[in-house]
């Protein structure tokens, strides 16, 4: 039947908060679209590593005959040629968040802004700290994406005279971040602020600071807008002055646009970059989604 379509969605599995949110939004939008458009069928596959993601995509093409693929590459490099192969078979390709390493393969690109995510946070630090103030940084899992964020952050505070005492990987994980922060607190007597490049890590960091009783001494900026954190910003928690968005809902946007492109003749190709915004107590309300798991 010409008017029924299958859309394959390949995303990383929900191994930390942000990806959990992303999984949630993907499933929610699929449910929504399946209800609205009976002629659409979706195949959702989550992968724990790049190889598995390539397997999933191969399976979708070989056995499910997909008409469009929405993919959030687990890593850019390894996914590039498999996705290119899909494209070469005439299947619509939407790439989300992490770009492929060869430009121009995808029909539609929807993404957050990783350098922006680091830069916005960095700019806030540069503005709100004085020369000679000390900060520590908790990075994510070592990946290109983490490098982009941290590089942009470092560039933004460059020249401000802020001292980066230490950077360690908290792996976007609450427990790891808690441990690392505990050790930072033992190691450094004077910390003025913490950049935890993800809200899951921020939760662990806050707990460690609280335990050490050094709440008055420093503030924390996380990222990606987890609902608990947004709530505390709304409540004007002095430890959490701001947050930087990196919306997990971008996957929903991508899926919806792709679906729209198939069922209607609306031209949807192009690039949609969802910039990273600063969440402040003033605008926090509009970023607060109490029902999302993230």
């Amino acid at each position: 039947q010409d008017d029924s379509y299958t859309i394959g969605v390949a995303i990383p599995s929900a191994t930390h908060g942000f990806m959990g949110g992303l999984n949630y939004h993907a499933q929610a939008s699929i449910e929504r679209l399946e209800a609205t458009y009976p002629q659409l069928e979706f195949v959702l596959a989550t992968a724990g590593d790049a190889g598995k993601m390539v397997n999933d995509i191969e399976d979708m093409v070989a056995t499910r005959g997909i008409d469009a693929l929405v993919v959030l590459p687990f890593e850019s490099e390894p996914l590039t040629s498999p996705v290119q192969a899909v494209k070469e078979q005439g299947i619509w390709v939407t790439v989300v968040d992490r770009g492929l390493s060869v430009p121009g393969i995808e029909d539609l690109y929807v993404a957050g802004d990783n350098p922006g995510f680091g830069r916005v946070a960095g700019e806030y630090f540069a503005e709100n700290l004085n020369e000679g103030d000390n900060i520590v940084v908790l990075r994510g899992i070592p990946t290109t994406l983490d490098n982009e964020r941290v590089d942009a952050f470092t560039a933004a505070i460059d020249g401000s005279g802020i001292n980066v005492l230490d950077m360690q990987h908290g792996n976007w994980n609450r427990d790891d971040a808690f441990n690392v922060m505990q050790d930072f607190l033992s190691k450094y007597d004077d910390i003025d602020a913490v950049w935890a490049a993800d809200d899951d890590m921020a939760v662990g960091v806050l707990e460690a600071i609280d335990q050490a009783g050094r709440n008055e001494e420093m503030w924390v900026v996380g990222g990606a807008g987890m609902k608990e954190i947004i709530k505390r910003i709304m409540d004007e928690d002095p430890m959490l002055p701001v947050n930087v968005t990196y919306p997990p809902a971008q996957i929903a946007t991508a899926i919806e646009l792709t679906a729209l492109g198939l069922v209607s003749s609306t031209p949807v190709s192009g690039r949609f970059i969802i910039g990273s915004q600063m969440i402040t107590p003033e605008n926090a309300e509009s970023f607060y989604f109490p029902d999302s798991p993230f």
Partner: protein, 332 residues
């Protein structure tokens, strides 16, 4: 012919270099830490390290029995995540009826313990009664619990009700006479474990089971029951570890407890328990757990190298800690 090998198994509690191996490694690490950072031996840091070790430590004590009995359990990390998830959901559900208070916390603890025991029992039945290879049962269970947790959390994080959490929090952060609760619980579990291993029939039976199941059976040891008991105890201890874990961050997700199984097994082996079973040493396991925690702590405190290389240094130290032990052996 066994005589020569048998003599290599040194009499148990002689103060040999082999026995001391892990202890020496631990002392070396402490000296290293103290020389790298003056805060290393501070009350705060010591408390942090010990309290964090408690989860893996409590689990590793149980793992010592499983491994001594000739088994293995790969499911403990994901079991912990699952138990935490169930506990949090149960407590959240009970808030309206029980209110915030001691009954709620006690009810939550009971749920955690029971879930842990049940999970351990399930492993135990499949392994001891159905006779399926422990590696496969617990590998399967690992996948099952991990994915059930993600599913319960809907891909995200299960968080304990905020007020319940505030009330429950002291169970991790407070303590008795300046010693944090997790440390106390870990110490009690370790001491009871050491006693059970060395002084009770159960410990003997575990070791005989791991040494030669056939001989144990011919000696009227209830082989299946003992084997099952090791998994049930481990399950219960996973529950107990979770009780200490949940008040720390008040949440659980699919990524809770990832790789705990490997860390617990490593601690057991570093401590001198024999991987193929037949001989176990609970105090050794405690030393093993502390070694592993200290490595992390020292790497964080020292920042000597690229953080990318932390894993490599960790690996080298783990191997070295065991080399110390083996050299004692070959000199025997």
């Amino acid at each position: 012919m066994t005589d020569t090998t048998a003599s290599a198994a040194a009499p148990r509690f002689r103060l040999s270099f082999q026995t001391l191996g892990p202890v020496l490694a631990l002392i070396a690490l402490i000296i290293l830490g103290a020389s790298l950072n003056s805060n290393f031996l501070s009350y705060g840091n010591v408390t942090n390290v010990l309290a964090r070790s408690a989860f893996i430590g409590i689990i590793a004590v149980g793992m010592t029995f499983v491994i001594t009995g000739g088994g293995i359990d790969l499911s403990v990390g994901s079991m912990a995540a699952f138990v935490a998830g169930v506990m949090i959901m149960a407590m959240n559900a009970m808030v309206p009826s029980l209110g915030i208070g001691v009954p709620l916390v006690l009810a939550g603890m009971a749920v955690a313990l029971l879930t842990g025991l049940a999970a351990g029992l399930l492993n135990g039945i499949l392994i001891a009664k159905a006779g399926i290879e422990a590696f496969i049962v617990t590998l399967g269970a690992m996948g099952i619990y991990r994915s059930l947790t993600t599913w319960l959390a809907d891909g995200g994080t299960l968080s304990l009700d905020f007020e319940a959490r505030t009330f429950y929090r002291p169970v991790y952060y407070d303590g008795l006479l300046g010693v944090a609760w997790p440390i106390i619980v870990f110490a009690v579990v370790a001491i009871l474990g050491e006693i059970a291993m060395r002084k009770t029939p159960f410990g003997r039976h575990c070791a005989s089971l791991g040494a030669n199941e056939q001989v144990a059976r011919y000696s009227a040891v209830k082989v299946d029951l003992v084997r099952m008991a090791t998994y049930v105890i481990l399950g219960g201890l996973v529950g107990l570890a979770t009780i200490m874990y949940v008040p720390r961050l008040g949440s659980a997700s699919g990524s809770t407890g990832v790789l705990w199984e490997l860390e617990a097994i490593a601690a057991v082996i570093i401590g001198g328990t024999v991987l193929k079973g037949g001989f176990g040493r609970v105090w050794g396991t405690v030393v093993g757990v502390l070694i592993l925690s200290l490595i992390d702590n020292i790497l964080n405190l020292a920042s000597i190298v690229s953080p990318y290389l932390n894993g490599a240094i960790q690996g080298v130290i783990v191997i070295l800690a065991v080399v110390l032990q083996r050299q004692g052996k070959s000199a025997d």
